[in-house]
Amino acid sequence: MRAESAYRCCSTHGQKPGGFLPSLVEAMPEAIPCLILVLLCSIPLHAQGAGQGPTGRPADVEAAEMDNGKVINNYVIRQSVEFGGRITSLNGSSAMYDTLLNEQSGPRLFQQSLIIQPMANTRAPFDNLYFESFGWGGDPSNAARLRITKRGLYNLGVNFRRDQNYFDYDLLANPLNLASTTALPTIYVNNSPHRMYLRRRMYDLNLTLLPQHTFSFRIDFSRNRNEGPSFSSVHQGTEALLNQQFSTTQNTLRFGAAWRVLHRTTLTFTESLQFLKNDTDDTLATFNTVLAANGTPVEFGLPWLGGSPCASPLVGGFANPSCNGYLSYTRTMRYRNYLPSEQLNLASSSIPHVDFTGRFMYSNADANTPLAENFDGLISRSGVRQSNTNGTTAHASWVSEDADAGVTVHLGSHLRLVETFRFYAYRIPGTMNLLQNNFFNLSTATSPSILGPVAIYPVPPLHSSSSPPDVQNDVYNRFVQQSTKTNELSLHYDVSRHFGVRLGYLYRNIFDAHQWLSTSNPDTYYPDPKGTSTTTCLAAGGAVNPDGTCTVVGPFDNENEPITIQQHWAIAGAWYRMSEKFRVDGELRLMSADNYLTRIDPRSERQYRANASFTPKPWLTLAANLNLREQRNLTQDFNYNAHVRNIGFSAIASPNRRLTVDAAYNYTNTAQSNNLCYAGTFVAPGSTPCVNDNTINEVLGFYSNHTHYGSASVMFKPVHRVSAALGYSIINVDGSELILNVLQPLGPLSYRYHQPLANIGVQLTKQIEFRAGWNYYQYNENSFIGPTAPRYFHANLTNLSLKYSF
């Protein structure tokens, strides 16, 4: 049974169509944990044959077996495997279902766990072995975790996690083309073009050698791989849909050593080496290709209105060659980043009445990216017919220092002073050297045409006053910096073992800065018969060369802006614990700042938090929580106000072993508003000219959200061998927001999400349980959806499985 389950685990993962071999290749990374599973399962199998003894077993063996374990060769083993399948029935929007759930039909290894512990006084290579996994066979989330420990010798942890994320929400990045009188014919786009299918695999290995010894060592390795296709878009005259194949791999190797310098004083050094590579290729995806008069397919991109791709994309049923459009587009980026970090830690409580911990980490990353972009089409405004960026490179660095220290001084058995300090600073110098060749139609042409030939120097090009240089050689220097110093001092007084209070003060100094400097190095304009390029060049401060070309050298964009923010926080907290039956704690935080970074940066903030739990009877637990946070910034015309108000109650009752009732309710009210400025022909009610730019409008932008969450479940055992559960949860969302476009669908502003469930388990034998489960999901948006497809769905999921355990 175990071997069969493991085999199925390896053979049924994933649901992607294709032959056996591609599936096998795809399965290789996931096969590793399955292999571990097989190996581990073989341990008890092997031990079972050799170790099952006669009756008259020791008392500790019987005690272990009574605790749902099995003793084999002096090892206590607890194991379970649940294997079965799921049947999914969906009605409504499959895009929404896949975005939210994506749980499909098929066989599954729902979960598996294995715990092996040696009996006391047994010489064993480990003290504890724990292995669990779930979700195999195609679920969007699956994981395997292995942990083996041997006290004083090693701790080993191995994790594998994979998650699939399918995203196809209509309204994100939606051009939503509506009926138009300025572009004919109207091409409707009612679905989000930015779909994504992301598969993320994360591998972690953590090994600590000789823990608790004078010297201990640590080796970690983690690998994070994100892959998938997605649709993106690019802006070149008009937005074209791109087929994006992305692949990001991050490998991190970490090793370190800890030295117990003194009793209760440990010094630790850790070196971390992180490598990140991002290989993303983009190619033109077909959206609505139109043939030109000569039979050339022209891609006009996503928006078909408001003059884009042009006023009349079709002429006589053929593509208008004067429109913005694409014949081909490719982009290849190879991002490489190497981030080494050194970290030094000191933890000590050797000095009487003092606990100290401190850390310093230094990191210096170096990232390089070459860019190869080739565009063939037409940007009608500038007349660019083709362009390429071969030879363009980008370079960025990350330099950071991260230091913190904390001291706790025990002033008595009930009083302690806690001081913490944190310093964090980073700077990111970035440079992009743009080498772009722009090509235009022949100067003999009357107007730019996507079908016209391209002029190669010294053949004169067709320029306009909006044309960029023929050869663009620009250097963009960017510099971003931030340093933060935070100091918190607090006094804690445990009045008794039942009650404690604390008072604290936190000071934070944030320094932000950015510098921009963009330089032409140089930009070259080729001469054209009308002298347009020379005029443009000279206007930009250029000079005409003897060969007739004109070059511009020097900076064209410069910016430098430092900001310092000082925050002051007052903190107070208290806790009360009346035996184990009643417990309550609360905290208050008040902040005031003298500056801000953006319009929605608070200059004052208040936070209130309280939790309480009450257990009047051993079988009944009641709990409540309250969280309030309010922010404000009334500087200039910002008028920024925001709050998150949350309150919740829960109750768990287990009057006997056969019945458990669980209920919870939670309410969250989120709101944020500030004055924002916008350009729009539709003027929202209450708009006035923008204070800092009276050419656009200013209005109070607001968003409010009320989310009610309720859940209830009852678990019961009607008869000895049967257990059952019924449950229901609902999320009800409603809210309001500023509407700047009356045609705008409101999407997730109002909806209900129902999730009832029922399941039953029948213990067929002592070791085998039959399980059947039903889950129902219903998602229903109530807000205005405009011309977009309804996002309603409901789905019935039926799970059938057998669980084998001992």
Partner: protein
């Protein structure tokens, strides 16, 4: 420490203005470390390993008692010993030549001689959370994971080791927890439980990730006891590695304010876990002109009413770009 003071008075116009003082802060850290090491080394009382874990500044009802051995404890507490100790990681203490039960509960001779006198032995339920935790930390503080516990928010709110861990009655196979980690956290953090039930959320409830992947329940120096990634970057970048950067063109709030500036980390009612339901609203909240700042405003040709078009349709690389200052590619 002089270096620390000099840093705070740095002239903003100087050439070193934009250079983080790495060496200065390292020297500060090294000086502080050296001070603690020297101070600790100078204490003769701490040089020999103590006979009992509660050697220094903890009230000790077992002072003067002698160790009697775990077998003696087992004589009266056989039930706890066999069911709730022998198969726990702490049982390995016996194999290391240590004292087993008495390593935590103190030497037991007076307790035995007193016929089981509870006042002569350390009973954890009679201690405050801070006192009980300090006894655990005698062994567990050397682990980096726990080293900041005495400064943690949890302890300051009366949540000690035994609030989550049970050496004798653990219900979860991991770290002697009294419940599975997620359910344990939900016990107090009910708001987060509700947030993880929202349609757009991190997959905590299905077990893919755990609270402790992002937070260190034993304390950290970050807000909300968050962990950090290499380089001190936000913990989010451990999984969302494509957002790490550095980029030639940084969208500055991503680094300066963090992911939480636009996203709600646990769960959201909005796609992409955004803080608001419309992308354009999110952008305009910041990209409106400010009198004395260079924050770029949305240009006048971005007519909000001509068509409904999300900002991210064109500004696709909104987390940072290597090739376009407007995040087009």
């Amino acid at each position: 420490m002089e270096d620390c003071r000099r840093e705070s008075k740095a002239n903003p116009d100087s050439a070193t203005y934009f250079r983080p003082p790495a060496r200065k802060w390292f020297r500060c850290f090294a000086l502080a470390s050296a001070f603690f090491l020297c101070s600790a080394a100078a204490l003769p009382a701490t040089t020999p390993p103590p006979k009992q874990p509660d050697d220094q500044h903890l009230a000790d009802p077992t002072a003067g008692s002698k160790f009697v051995g775990a077998d003696t404890c087992k004589g009266c507490h056989s039930d706890i010993y066999e069911k709730n100790f022998a198969n726990t990681p702490h049982a390995a203490l016996l194999k290391d030549g240590k004292h087993g039960c008495e390593d935590c509960h103190g030497a037991g001779s007076a307790h035995v001689d007193g016929g089981g006198d509870k006042t002569k032995i350390i009973v954890f339920s009679s201690l405050s959370p801070a006192e009980a935790s300090r006894r655990c930390m005698v062994c567990h503080q050397s682990n980096l994971e726990n080293s900041a516990f005495s400064q943690s928010v949890h302890l300051s709110q009366g949540v000690g080791c035994l609030s989550c861990h049970s050496p004798h009655h653990a219900a979860a196979p991991e770290a002697l927890l009294i419940k599975s980690q997620t359910q344990l956290c939900y016990g107090c953090h009910a708001q987060q439980k509700a947030e993880f039930a929202r349609p757009y959320r991190h997959r905590v409830d299905v077990g893919l990730i755990k609270c402790s992947d992002c937070h260190n329940p034993h304390g950290s120096f970050h807000d909300r006891q968050l962990r950090s990634a290499d380089g001190g970057m936000e913990v989010c970048t451990k999984c969302h590695s494509e957002k790490v950067g550095p980029f030639s063109f940084e969208h500055m709030p991503v680094k300066q304010e963090g992911c939480g500036g636009c996203h709600t980390p646990h769960g959201s009612t909005n796609p992409r876990q955004l803080r608001v339901s419309q992308v354009n609203m999110l952008c305009l909240q910041c990209h409106s002109p400010i009198a004395n700042r260079d924050t770029p405003e949305a240009p006048s040709f971005h007519n909000q009413s001509a068509k409904y078009q999300a900002c991210t349709l064109c500004h696709t690389q909104i987390h940072g770009s290597n090739f376009d200052e407007f995040f087009f590619r």
